[in-house]
Symmetry: C2
Subunit: 463 residues, 2 copies
């Protein structure tokens, strides 16, 4: 609707369609326009409304469950009702994993029920469960370093607790026990692995998440117990008596399934073929309702695109929102998208994914050509009123952008405060009440700044 | 071992037996002795060790379960190992209630699993569960005020949220829905009642607790859902479509059972027949491990009596620690004790029960004859260094002291900070990690001051 001349816009009309309050007829700089949409976003309840709708009307969205299909339907309807210019879906196929009964008990030297969850893609135990002595390792590294057959016939318990950091950097070192614990335990002769949940909380709500089996290693069941239960088990081990556990997991691999990446666009005014990619993943784990992981990312990025699209100002390039299918079980939607759109990679200008909850954004980073750093500098100035500081030009892609990044796309990262993120991540506690509407709106405002400036840049953004 | 002359003690010997460091041979005031034991208590890990032992080696102690008997055994052994002068048990009989499978789902207009727990003494649903439309009341008062048959054939949902206060005063107004919700709902034709948990947290861990059926009213099943689930249900109701739920509770009444009050004494040096009653209840609900409710009370009062008993100073009167059986299901142990000891009521001088978690004590109150207020004043001075202020002479008895109070016993109340108490009260989250060892030790120190001064008072304490 409007034409952009350098960074200055000549405003022709400002009709009711445009809810951004800039004095009609005045010449506005692009910075003033972005600031106006940003400030409107700060006051907009839209993202929270979207998140409320998703968590209330759909709930969890575990890949391949009936909830997955409901979420796709919900997303298509929601994006259409928000009057995106284009809304469509693209197929994503994978083998499902089905959660069924799961229970764990300490049966000696004392009797306790443990709060347990199977890890994603774990094989089941025999129907009657496994009863075995438990062997305790502080870390997966200790397990790896133990002698051959150290865990023969036993259930391995790995007790390392994840550390709490604002940037979530405690996750990487801790999550190895989840990803590889089963195969490393099997290599030492174990019959199952039970890990302390990869989480920073102290609630009886275990954290699920993916694990992987190594090739040519016996596949043994894998589960996580809650932090208080892991504390209890450590206290029992301190008594230096044999510890026995009964573990029953009926979860296991299911059928082939085809879900959908849900994609929507606010078309660019001049270079509509060029795309700025934002989004979050639509799937979630099944224990909670996927409010922070990643309903928040869905809500933030849909709201940001909508607020730009409805602002009365339309940037040059298209803002494409991708609600990724099945991120949780291995970036399946992201890989399918990258493969399907391989020929159009040069049209994927840059992107940012929101997938770290709903905490306030406190910093951002870029991974662009040095030629683009002037734009980044302007972005930084527009982020400053949001309390957001520029970090450096070494941004890592959000998970679903990894396949695009690997094919050469530039990326930005908007860093959320993740201090509390791993309290509820992948647990039953991932529910709407954990989300602060003000923080969510601040995220939207930051995505507005990022998406508008990159979509409207005179200069092409590249790596 | 030592004789008390007014408030002054002549110390004859201070051998290795006594870990309280007061210079041997010096004349000590009673205040100095109490202060020394109090300050030793502040540094003692004993209460935490007792609580660690109970929650690790026994776990939950629901009345009438095998865990109940294990707890009695644990308590007798622990008290004997702590060298109390006398340790014994007294029988407490009641009809048990047995928890079995429990589940709840919203099945229309959306599908959600709810985290649910049966309320204590609820009757079961039919085996296949109940499927019915849900009718929403904000409060039990709204339910009572609704027209006859307002809930005919429906499941009543009461959504009032308990308010958070330091003194726990949000509990009373909220808990009516738990106690009476079933009968009030039945009077309006309901087939079941589901309440928002009586708790101040936002976790997917429902709070159990006792309910009661009114005489001559149809008995319908009663359950509580977690706060986030109640939020969800409220959001669904806001959409003004019919809401349906499937509720399955197989819990219900069980057999007759005989548990035990576990009683131990540090005998008085001059008036051993006169008793100062301290204690907590040994039973707990079954969802957690009963760390704050009421393992903490057990640990605090046992440690206080032990520290006095082992101090080398022995007050005139006996300190009797009672670990009450089955408080949770109706003060059954307290009533049995009061009945069994009716003839000895005049020998029950005064008492205080610790049954409000493990938060710091910030105040205390008394309910004694005005003649005793000079002692209370001295108590206040010895409490001051612990950050504890005297409130007034209108103390209410701890729950298990109600039957003794009703028979005329004077009482004290040591007020704990309960700001967080109802976050975990009666949930799976009632575990050791919720207890701060320093706060627990501060509680012990306060009970030392209370028990020593009342046990050693020249003047008899009365109402």
């Amino acid at each position: 609707m409007f034409k952009n001349i350098k960074n200055t816009l000549l405003i022709f009309t400002l009709v009711v369609l445009s809810p951004v309050h800039i004095h009609a007829g005045a010449q506005q700089t692009e910075d003033e326009i972005v600031a106006a949409i940003r400030d409107k976003a700060l006051k907009s309840p839209l993202a929270y409304e979207i998140l409320e709708s998703l968590t209330t009307e759909v709930g969890h969205r575990m890949p391949g469950t009936p909830q997955d299909a409901k979420a796709v339907d919900w997303a298509v309807k929601k994006l259409k009702s928000l009057k995106f210019d284009k809304v469509w879906t693209e197929p994503v196929s994978f083998k499902t994993w089905v959660r069924r009964h799961e229970s764990a008990y300490i049966i000696a030297p004392y009797e306790h029920e443990l709060k347990v969850t199977a890890l994603g893609y774990s094989v089941p135990t025999p129907d009657q469960g496994i009863e075995a002595e438990v062997i305790h390792f502080n870390t997966i590294e200790d397990l790896i370093d133990s002698k051959a057959d150290s865990a023969k016939g036993k259930i391995v318990f790995i007790s390392r607790k994840m550390e709490r950091f604002k940037d979530g950097s405690g996750y990487g070192p801790a999550v190895r026990a989840r990803g590889n614990g089963a195969s490393e335990a099997a290599l030492k002769g174990a019959v199952a692995v039970v890990i302390r949940s990869i989480g920073t909380d102290s609630h009886r709500l275990p954290h699920t998440g993916m694990m992987r089996y190594k090739d040519n290693v016996v596949q043994i069941p894998a589960a996580a117990i809650s932090n208080p239960d892991a504390d209890l088990l450590e206290r029992i081990f301190a008594r230096q008596q044999p510890v026995k556990m009964k573990l029953q997991l009926n979860s296991g691999p299911g059928e082939e399934y085809t879900s959908q990446n849900v994609i929507a666009e606010m078309s660019g005014s001049e270079l509509p073929d060029q795309k700025i990619i934002i989004g979050g993943h639509l799937d979630s784990w099944d224990l909670g309702t996927g409010a922070i992981d990643d309903g928040a990312g869905v809500a933030i990025t849909v709201a940001a695109a909508k607020l730009i699209g409805a602002s009365g100002y339309r940037p040059k390039r298209t803002i494409r929102v991708i609600l990724w299918a099945n991120e949780e079980q291995g970036l399946i939607g992201a890989k399918a998208y990258a493969k399907a759109h391989q020929q159009e990679m040069p049209l994927h200008v840059t992107g940012a994914e929101s997938d770290f909850g709903a905490g306030k954004i406190y910093a951002f980073s870029s991974h662009v050509s040095p030629d683009n750093l002037q734009l980044v500098n302007r972005m930084s100035q527009l982020m400053t009123p949001l309390g957001i500081k520029y970090v450096n030009n070494q941004a890592r892609p959000g998970p679903d952008l990894i396949p695009l990044f690997e094919q050469g796309m530039s990326v930005f990262a908007l860093h959320q405060d993740g201090t509390d993120y791993f309290d509820v991540h992948h647990t039953a506690d991932d529910t709407l009440d954990k989300v602060d509407p003000q923080n969510l709106a601040q995220n939207v405002a930051a995505y507005v700044v990022f998406a508008y400036l990159t979509a409207n840049s005179e200069q092409k953004i590249s790596r």
